[in-house]
Symmetry: C2
Subunit: 204 residues, 2 copies
DNA sequence: AAAAAATTTTACCATGTGGTAAAAATGCAA
DNA sequence: TTGCATTTTTACCACATGGTAAAATTTTTT
């Protein structure tokens, strides 16, 4: 049993997590510095280290926070009725996540580019289980003749890839289109086009 | 007019570029160290700095080399006959690039995650022009009623996103499936599924 | 083979970065 | 308001990292 966190502690730890997410998103674990995070969080480095004993601890906390949000997102969808509804819903949720947690998504991207040394363990079993369930659902649809015979895992990867692309590579997208998912019109257009192509692509 | 590069120069500069690509792919510009690159290239740090005067110069050379390959890849496809053939061909080429230049792809990913400070200038106009041409072709197909009315840019992003996903996030993919694009069977299956979904998704 | 040019090594240095110790300041409960 | 606990600042340190100078070595040219 651990002592109740004080008001200041709660505020400052969250400040560090927010700043850490932003910095790690840009530079990855190795490239980020405690000074950068401290400055963005508006406190001195030793002050920050009063809340997190070292850089790795900040990183772990950021990863865990993001991970929870991501897993929650992945489990949020439900096999409601038709595959059409279910897939539409799934893409919706993923797009929403990409828009609202772009920095978290980029922290993940950086971590995976480094070979996912931490995430591999943190994620391993949970993600495999979730993906396994998704795969089973899709396999069921194929068996029932509701969608074309496709390899489920690649459909899942496609949806992840596209939605994450809009957050992870937003710098590139912005250069080319002048827009990001923050632009409501662009957001809807992207979601609509992607949903349409995937639905028509898999439905019979 | 610059002097002809010596035999040793050619060999060692390429060694540095190869090592640099691998290290920058993992850690990005900030996270990579000259020592790591030097060690992987099998030479001492001062020796490496005899060929490239500083870290940024190595990075620029790596980016440029990768950029040339990427732009070449993007321009390799041709509007042959039907949209079906053309899109299939385009996806083929991108998948091949992801498999054969995974580290280069990751260097790009890292650069874009950092906000593409260098690439923005290096790439800016060239990429815009290429994407503009692609967009025009797709718009033509829509007008001619050959494919469904979709927003071309998002189709392009979809194809980029998916193919790059297999190289950039191969660590995640390997955790989940035990496979990478290096596995011939997996490569063909991924390409086939993606091609099928996108073709059925856009063709009328 | 000798001289010149190119390459590699050795020995550095300045700065950046992760992290600590302890004093000073602040918040808070009695 | 006083005393205790929490928080913040100041002043550091050790090591990593980017980079340099110059000597030593190897390669190439004459």
């Amino acid at each position: 049993m651990q002592k109740k966190r004080s008001r200041i502690q709660i505020i400052n730890q969250q400040k560090v997590l927010d700043a850490g997410t932003e910095i790690f998103a840009k530079y990855g674990f190795r490239g980020a510095t405690i000074d950068q995070i401290a400055e963005l969080a508006g406190m001195s480095k030793p002050n920050l280290l009063y809340y997190f004993k070292n850089k790795k601890d900040i990183y772990l906390a950021v990863l865990e926070q993001t991970l929870n949000k991501w897993l929650q997102c992945l489990m949020e969808w439900q096999v409601t009725a038709t595959p059409e509804e279910t897939i539409t819903n799934y893409i919706n949720i993923k797009f929403e996540f990409s828009r609202d947690h772009a920095d978290g998504s980029r922290v993940f991207a950086n971590e995976i580019l480094e070979g996912a040394p931490i995430l591999k363990n943190l994620l391993g079993e949970d993600l495999k289980r979730i993906v396994g369930e998704d795969t089973r659902v899709i396999k069921g649809w194929v068996k029932d003749g509701l969608i074309r015979p496709i390899e489920p895992i690649h459909l899942i990867f496609m949806i992840w890839a596209v939605t994450q692309h809009y957050s992870d590579f937003s710098a590139q997208i912005e250069t080319l289109t002048g827009k990001t998912l923050a632009d409501e019109k662009f957001y809807k257009q992207a979601k609509k086009t992607v949903t349409q192509i995937i639905l028509k692509g898999v439905l019979i």
